[in-house]
């Protein structure tokens, strides 16, 4: 069943990429709340390249006259959890045919992954096929386009929202309103 294998590969790949992402963040020390540790190669994840993260905020310039106080100067809280930049890591995993690797590059901007590329480093043919399937599918999150720009005859939807149901939710909304 081609459908089956594609879906299975996609799921496995999604989990693998999440795992890689976690490892990546750990090994680069990009997670600011975590104790800083040197970017060392870990057992199953090697940091191959990392561009210098671009600093987002300029240091705050002191302007106001300091007010005498007994408390120590507060440390400015970071507004984002991750440093902006592009990060690459290679993940290695065990397969029945031996160890295999895949390379992942992520761009982080304001705590959001804004771009990603995955490069297959597969050796075995089975792994090559699975990794190609994953690469073809891992980004396929659906996005919407405005209906009025699509020149449609009809829209297929589950919006059989029966009138009674709508009325009931209106009633409940009315009851719940403060």
């Amino acid at each position: 069943m081609p459908i089956f294998s594609r879906v299975t590969a996609l799921k496995a790949g999604t989990i693998a990429s999440l795992g890689l992402f976690v490892m990546l963040v750990r090994s680069t020390g990009a997670f600011q709340d975590a104790p800083s540790e040197p970017a060392t190669a870990q057992q199953d994840s090697t940091l191959t390249a990392a561009t210098t993260p671009t600093p987002t905020e300029a240091p705050a310039t002191p302007s106001a006259t300091p007010v005498p106080t007994r408390t120590p100067t507060p440390v400015p809280k970071p507004t984002t959890k991750f440093r902006n930049g592009t990060y690459t890591a290679t993940g290695t995993y065990r397969t029945p045919g031996g160890n295999e690797s895949i390379r992942v590059t992520l761009t982080i901007s304001n705590d959001v992954v804004t771009n990603s590329t995955v490069t297959s480093l597969a050796q075995g043919n089975t792994t090559k096929a699975f990794q190609q399937d994953f690469i073809a599918n891992y980004r396929s999150l659906v996005v919407g386009r405005q209906l009025d720009q699509l020149n449609l005859t009809k829209v297929s939807s589950s919006s059989l929202t029966p009138n009674g149901f709508n009325r009931a939710t209106d009633t409940i909304e009315g009851q719940a309103r403060l």
């Binding site: 069943m1 081609p2 459908i3 089956f4 879906v7 996609l10 999604t14 980004r139 396929s140 999150l141 659906v142 996005v143 919407g144 386009r145 405005q146 209906l147 699509l150 020149n151 449609l152 005859t153 009809k154 829209v155 297929s156 939807s157 589950s158 919006s159 059989l160 929202t161 029966p162 009138n163 009674g164 149901f165 009325r167 009931a168 939710t169 409940i172």
Partner: protein, 292 residues
Amino acid sequence: MTTSAQRLAFEAIGTHWEIDIYDEQSPAELAELERRITKRIATFDQHYSRFRNDSLIMQASREPGRYKLPADATPLFELYRRLYTATHGKVTPLVGNLLVDAGYDPEYSLRPAHQLKPVPAWDDVMHYADGILTVKQPVIIDLGAAGKGYLIDLVAGILRAGGVTSYLIDAGGDLLHRGDQPARIGLEHPQDPTQAVGVVMLGNESICASAGNRRAWAGLHHIMDPHQAKPTTDVLATWVIAQSALLADGLATALFFTPAGELRKQFDFEYFLIRPDLSSEQSSGLQAEIFA
């Protein structure tokens, strides 16, 4: 592509219907078609609705016994039985009591009972053969997973009998197309009804959609897992394209419970589905443009 069509539009079974007829019809012929169609829908509702206490099917909720159903019951119950087997009992007409307990009742109280009970096995409580429905205990039979699709097919039968060959039936977003000119159909974004996530060309087939989030209340929605007495959570929305609306509608619900690969061993259809993280999945034969 957009041929001028004559449109019948009306409200029935709690949803909006639009029937576009591409064959030339006189006003009198159109009026006669609408009369027959609305009458047919009313009869179907009178027989099979669990939202009205005076329906034929609701008699089985009050008293065990043998009930003679109209001849049109057989294709519906036969499909239900096939879906029941293919989904290992997840698609079942016996989900009625569970839905009512959950608050999805004729009054739409939307107040769940304290504890929701899993539904009984088909063979333990009911039997259907040759138009005779036998129930061993009072059960609320819910034909919501495929009933509307079947009704669309029955309406198509009326159009066909009236000599209409080219038409598009839209019953609240579930569609059936017949004719030479395929129609361009948007797939509505499950989280934003002003947007589409893709476009399919529908030619001489049906597309039906199902989504859990449209009728949701109190942490529940209307697609319930009958074994766990909980709503399903793995799938956000499904679309199925099949020869009949009966099949498309039933399978759109079945995809909430059973992997498409398993269903495709037993049923002929194409599909597209969206998971809660907005990742998607589709059959290789689906003629669609998906926006990603």
